[in-house]
Symmetry: C2
Subunit: 127 residues, 2 copies
């Protein structure tokens, strides 16, 4: 058994192209010995967002705090509140934004596919 208070998990700024004001706390990943999937807490400053992107991995999200918007695979934007869950299937484009005036937090889980580590998605085939 391993226990971590989330406040002791260092937030890492996401510096990929198209990401802004977003920080990841990597709670449970391959480094912790997790064999199948990873759990991260993502925090967005007001105005913070991911890029509109896709990867081989699905996501299971659960929103904890703040006012979010989610752009789906067809480019439609919906608002998301604390207590909402969202499932994003493998390879479906998505973007997440903080559209409120306070910090927005969500749980973001992702499978650990071959070549992935729970922090960065796995390379696409041929990579």
């Amino acid at each position: 058994m391993n226990r971590k208070p989330i406040a002791q998990v260092e937030p890492v700024e996401m510096k990929h192209e198209g990401f802004k004001g977003m920080f990841a706390r990597y709670l449970w990943t391959a480094i912790d010995g997790c064999p199948h999937y990873a759990m991260r807490i993502m925090e967005f400053e007001p105005g913070g967002h991911t890029s509109y992107h896709s990867h081989l991995e699905e996501h299971e999200f659960y929103f904890l705090e703040g006012e979010a918007a989610y752009v789906d695979g067809e480019g439609n934007q919906i608002t998301v509140s604390p207590g909402d869950g969202i499932y994003c299937p493998p390879d479906e484009p998505h973007q997440i934004k903080n559209v409120g005036s306070t910090r927005m937090k969500m749980i973001c889980t992702i499978p650990i596919l071959p070549g992935g580590d729970g922090k960065t998605p796995a390379p696409r085939s041929g990579a």
Copy 2:
């Protein structure tokens, strides 16, 4: 993409032997098309608890509300607070209790192994 407000996910009382006052909201499971793992919100009434049990699947937990206790693989009990994460490796015994006076809530994730569905653990080999 699929979105579910957690309040619209019906709580199901866990009636397995040794469980008491515990309800599962099955947010994302095999029924939703999730290929690798499941996310559930577990709610415990004051005095509610799981049994002390184990299964082939690991757990990644994140505690949301209330005052919990966790009994680890050696039988030691620790207190757990909102914002704590716990990782329970495959096949390690564990028990979770609500030791506070208010409802306790946690996120409980589990891989979907062959024969499992994200709600009930997979049968052990030979079953």
